[in-house]
Amino acid sequence: AQRVTQPEKLLSVFKGAPVELKCNYSYSGSPELFWYVQYSRQRLQLLLRHISRESIKGFTADLNKGETSFHLKKPFAQEEDSAMYYCALRGLGGSNYKLTFGKGTLLTVNP
């Protein structure tokens, strides 16, 4: 079974403050991990994937296999970062290409 846990439903920070959105996963194998973002009830769009180790809009995420975590971080939050963030896991192999999401964290960046 695969599971994604985002412990914080809501996160509120001030502009310029650091932000960390937590994600923990459960999967027996090497999963693919992603962060998706949804602005104002629009469609979800990819923010980051663990394999590329890139920084998008100032966000980074590091896969920690020992802690089974994939936390999303940004050193200086901006008001336009306010959105719903979802951590996602995709299992691998045959028909098991299931894409599972966490419950999401609503980030609010206050001026």
Binding site: K9, R41, R43, R90, S95, Y97
Partner: protein
Amino acid sequence: DAGITQSPRHKVTETGTPVTLRCHQTENHRYMYWYRQDPGHGLRLIHYSYGVKDTDKGEVSDGYSVSRSKTEDFLLTLESATSSQTSVYFCAISDRTANTEAFFGQGTRLTVV
């Protein structure tokens, strides 16, 4: 934007009636997914497909069925709609390439009264 469209975008239906939502893609992607999005629950997988006529259940499949008779279309059917199925439904598509992203439709807002 990836070629993925959902229809209808909005629907109000009565309890007990059948409802079918359509997801159409022009990307020739192998994998297609149906999710429902509810406050406090995030995105929950209903069913997914890994090829024509190949489907599998997600975590909240009760009360829903799906069909995929051709690559481009993935249909979600509520056989007898209930008020608990009032939700926003999202379709997603994905290729088989490792670590490729999933592309989402714009969602269907379904209200069961």
